[in-house]
Amino acid sequence: MNRKQSAPSADANEEISALIETLFETEQRLEELTGGEVDTVAGRDGRTFMLRRAQEQSRDSEAGKQAAILNVLPAHIALLDAQGTIVSVNEAWRRFANANVLHAPGPGLGLNYLEICDRAQGDYSTEAQQVAAGIRSVLGRGQKSFSIEYPCHSPTEQRWFLLTVTPLSDDRANGAVVMHLNITERKRSEEKQRASELEFRSMAESMPQMVWMTRPDGWTTYVNQRWVDYSGLSFEESLGHGWGEVFHPDDQQLAAESWQRAVAVGTDHITECRIRRADGTYRWMLIRGVAVRDQAGLITKWMGTCTDIDDLKRAGAALRESEEMLRGVMESSHDCIKILDREGRLLWMNEGGQKIMEIDDFAVVDRQPWTSFWPPDEQAAAMAALERGRNNHVGKFTGSCPTAKGSPRWWEVVITPMLNDTGFPEKLLSVSRDITERKQAEVETQRLHRQLVDASRQAGMAEVATSVLHNVGNVLNSVNVSCSLILGKVRQSRISSVAKTAELLNEHAGDLTEFLTNDQTGKKIPEYLGKLAVRLAEEQKAVLDEVQLLTGNIEHIKDIINVQQSHARNIGGVRETLPIEGLVEEALRMNDGVLRRHRIKVTREFAEVPMVSMEKHKVLQILVNLIRNAKHALTDGGGQDKQLILRIGRNNGNVVVSVSDNGIGIPAENMTRIFGHGFTTKKDGHGFGLHSGALAAQEMGGSLAAESDGPGTGATFTLSLPLDGHGNN
């Protein structure tokens, strides 16, 4: 092609016209030949000539497409030339021109965008200058592209824009495309996201639980400080799956399976497991995880907590255990266990108790006053026990009360306060134990005891009677002796001599003087009468002496009988306050003859003691028994020096009478048996004396004890009687 710089000449013009005509015809003919189906043809040198129609169509469609594309974009786009002059804008730019301070008013075609930015004033001038610098940099090839986010708030709303500047072509500095994109929505949601993130963080940090967050696949992305503090793992160590190691080895598999299942299915996750604390101890945790989903229902993350339930768990276990135990106790209990309110109304009763009480339907007794179940004469005791419970003490009593069906029963009742949290006895626990059998046994024992006592008393009476008879018998011996003596004396009396003398005197009544003075016989009569008188006087004295002894013996018999009588009178168990010394003396007197006959030396060591309240006959019986036993021990021992020592003294609020002998003593093996029924060492003994003595002493609240160092060392029996008159019986 000829490239002349000068204007074409007239000839040339003519030739150009001809050539254009040829070009046109050529193209026309080509179109015809190719049926309009060809866009280009190649020249000889391979150059491509695009046919006009293709060119036009191509140009039109390209421009249209580009314009259409540009105009549908929501971004505001302007094309700047190399100097920054706006040469083209899209629809959005046009529409929005006035809304943005960085836009020129109106479409701004032909205005220099750089100058607009340079001139910007007010709130956003800083951003405008940054934009100008950015555009200059891109236009000057200093930067491949430039972008900036800037706020552009109108009085009614907050708006944000993203500005990007891109060079028009890669290789030549021939302008740039400026695009503004409204990113207010994105900004808002980002703000929202940030705010909610912040909110979540502060919430998570303030929670008492440990809080964690994971990706949808279970990869931990967040834990709160509480977790860090508890586990001792750092924040970074806790991320990912780092926290798996702090699970208790026994729980690891279960917890992992549960978690994997939840993640796979997307259901809420809940599990209990032990997690190691920084100090190495494991505590039970309740782990909850909830899937957070987006609007489409896809899981975006998991959020969860770990709650320390160790104390609860332990308390729960302890509680369960104690409840189970309690239930077991209740079920297996043969006691009637009740809970009463403060007013004593029945709130609850164990099943075993209902069975014992023969209650078919608890509703019948529900809320009824507990004391009302007791018979009138037991109610005072029940009330008192209840009152003690109310006052935070333990109330106890024993009483008889029939069951709901009227079966007679004895109960041992204990009422205990049930304290509430503040230590106030809000309710009362009443436990009634059926002691009917025990009570019956007690009654039976008492009956047997009484029988025994009666028997022993009778035996004691027999003993006393024996002793009386023995004593009386002893005295009767003396009485007999006295009687024979008197009889002998009276038989040998010189009364007959008096009668003979009187007969002689009667024969010589006429010559009495002669007879008395001259007769050999008569002369001796006065002298004889004098001697007779002396003899008779002697005789009288001897008889009188004997009679006196007899009288004394008879008095003794009377005494013995009196003792027996007073014993008989007091058989009703009447207590008298008496000096013990008197009784000891009386017991000695009753055995006086025996002791004297066996030449037993009696020693009295009596201390001053107060008078004692006692049942006289029982004490006497005991003392008589002890003295007689001592006598047996002394006589069986066969020793010459027979000592019986009676002592009276005090010992710990008791008056003590001891009877000691130096007789045969008691072998150790017998010491435990001597008070037993039927035990005796005497050939004709019945083994009842000491036994009934011990029982009698007990009945008076006292005791009877024996001491001996063994055979041949003698023995001491000690009767103790309480000074206050009644012991613990």
Binding site: E37, V38, A42, T48, M50, A54, S58
Partner: protein, 96 residues
């Protein structure tokens, strides 16, 4: 899959000018219908590679060259007349 001959085509176009674009559309449609999974199309833009067209002796676009299977056949145009195209490419017999 039954082994069949692979068809290799070369289409010379001038950018996305109307006839070239139509030719590509028609060829693709025809291949999909008649030669599923047994064709390969190489597109040569003569505006970008004028030397290549010259070397291949291509004077006009759009031009379709069937390289394989032989014989090599050339069709110029938009390939709108399917029967002529099939006949030219020797595909009529394949179809029958």
């Amino acid at each position: 899959m039954k082994p069949k001959d692979l068809f290799k085509f070369r289409l010379y176009v001038a950018g996305d000018t109307p006839n070239s674009a139509r030719a590509l559309t028609n060829l693709t449609a025809l291949c999909r219908e008649r030669l599923p999974d047994q064709y390969k199309i190489e597109i040569i833009n003569v505006l970008k590679e004028p030397k290549r067209a010259l070397a291949d002796g291509i004077l006009m676009t759009p031009t379709l060259v069937k390289l394989v299977p032989s014989p090599v056949r050339t069709i110029v145009g938009t390939l709108s007349n399917t029967s002529i195209v099939l006949q030219t490419l020797g595909l009529e017999t394949v179809a029958v």
